[in-house]
Symmetry: C2
Subunit: 247 residues, 2 copies
Amino acid sequence: MEEEKRTVRAVERALDVLMCFASGHEWGLTEIAGRVGLHKSTVHRLLATLEDKGFVTRITSTDKYRLGLSVLELSANLSRSDDPSVVLLPEMERLRDQLSETVSLYIRDRVERVRIQAVQSMQAIRRVATVGARLPLSVGASSKVLLAFAEAGVRGNVMSDTAWPVHLDREAFGKQLDDIVATGYATSYEEREPGAAAVSAPIFNRSGKLVAALSVSGPSNRLTPDRMHEFAPAIIEAAHRMGTILE
Amino acid sequence: MEEEKRTVRAVERALDVLMCFASGHEWGLTEIAGRVGLHKSTVHRLLATLEDKGFVTRITSTDKYRLGLSVLELSANLSRSDDPSVVLLPEMERLRDQLSETVSLYIRDRVERVRIQAVQSMQAIRRVATVGARLPLSVGASSKVLLAFAEAGVRGNVMSDTAWPVHLDREAFGKQLDDIVATGYATSYEEREPGAAAVSAPIFNRSGKLVAALSVSGPSNRLTPDRMHEFAPAIIEAAHRMGTILE
DNA sequence: TAACAGAGTTTCATGCAGTGAAACGTATCT
DNA sequence: AGATACGTTTCACTGCATGAAACTCTGTTA
C-alpha cells in the first residue's frame, strides 16, 4: 500500500502552486498559501522561482500573481501534427457546420476527462466550450462513452477510485454503460449542468483502441432527447471517419 | 553585483527541464539531462515529479517524454477578457483581411520579444506565425519598434545586457531606432529569416505607454520595400485604433 | 496621530530531503 | 557473446529547502 514515491517535494509544491492558476485568473500570496496549505514564506520562495522562470508574473498595481509567458510558450508546442486535436479539427468543423452545434473532443486522463479540442456553434445561443477544461468522468455523455468503451479493467479501476462519487448507484451506472456499448453512443440531458445536453460517440484508432470521445452539445431546449437520437448517426459516422485517420 | 537569489534550486531545475519542451516535441531522459546540464538521476526524479503532476507524459512505445495535459489546462486560463491578445484579435483580423498578409502582435519580455497573438494570411504562400514564439529583440521590424518606442532607459539596459549580440554596431542601430521614432514605423527585409519581410507599428495604450508592436509579415517577394511603405499608413492607423481600446 | 490589521518580505537555526556517483536492469546493436 | 546506450534504483553525505518569527509597508480604525 505504501507506493514509494520517487518525486521531489519542492517541485511538487511549486507545481501545485502553479495549478492554482488553472481555476481563476489571479491570486495573492496569502490566498495561494491558504489554498495549497503551505507556509507563506515557502510559497513566497516558490513564486519567486516561478516568476524568475516566467511561469507567473505580478500585476504591478496590485501585488497579485497571474500566469506568465512561459506557459504561452509551452502551449505553442503542445499540438503536434500527429496530435488528434490537430488532425481531427477539420472533421470537427464539418460536423459543426452540419449540425450547427458546438463540437468537442475529450480524452480520458486517469479518473477525469479533458477537453482537448472544441469548435463552437455559430448560433446566438450556443454551448461555449473551452479547450483544456478538466471535467469529472462520472457525468456527461462523453464521460460515459470514455468509460463504456475503455479497455478491460478501466471501468472497475475508475469506479473504485477514491475520487469516484460514492452516492452513485454502481449497478445502474454499469447497466447504462452496457447499453451504450450496445447502441454505440451516449446522451446526457441536463446531467452535468442545467440547460445543457450532449450526444457522444467513441473514436477508435485503426488498431481498434479507444482514443477519444466526440461530443455534440448545446442548449437542452434545442437538443431534446428526440433530436439527439436523430443526431446520433451523423456523429457516429463522423467519429468513425476520424478513427480511420488515427494511428 | 552579487544579486541575492531567493529561489528554490530544485524548482528552477524542474522548470528548466520543462522548458526543453518549448523547442521541439519530445525528448528522452539522457537528451534532457545533457541539455540542462544535470545528472541523469536528478533529471529522472524531476521528470517523475512533472509526470506525476501531469506536466509531461511518456510515449508508451518509445520511452520519450512530451508535454502533458496540465499545460493545456493552464493555457486555457491564459487569456482573460482584458488581455490585449483577446481584445485586439478582431482588429487584427480586419487588418489581415485588408492586406491579405499574416498579422502578429508582439510584446517585449526583458531582452526578448514574444508573439502573443497572430492571424494567418489566407494566401497559398504565407508567413506562418505561431503564438507563444519567443524571438530575439535585436532583429526584425517589431523588435525595433519595441525598442525604439520603449520608456527611457530600456534601450540602454537591453543593449548592455549580456545576451545582446556584441557584433551589432550600436551607433548605427541607435540611429536606426531614432529614425523609426521619427517615421512612426519600422520595416525589416530578410533580416531575421531569409525570404521574409515585415512592417511594424507601435501600439500605445490610452495613457501613452507602449504595450505592443503590431506587425504585418509575408514573403519578401510580395512584401517588397516599396509595398511595405504603402502598407505603413494602414498599419499605423490600425495600431492607433487598437491603442484606444486598451487600458 | 497613534494604534491596528492585513498584506508581502527577510532572516536564520535546524535537520531532512535533494543530490549524484555508482551499480543495476534491459533492450538493441555487431 | 560482447558492447553500447538507454532508463532505473540505491545510498551516504551534506547542502539546501524549510517555517517560525521578526520585519516592512500599506491602508484602515480609534
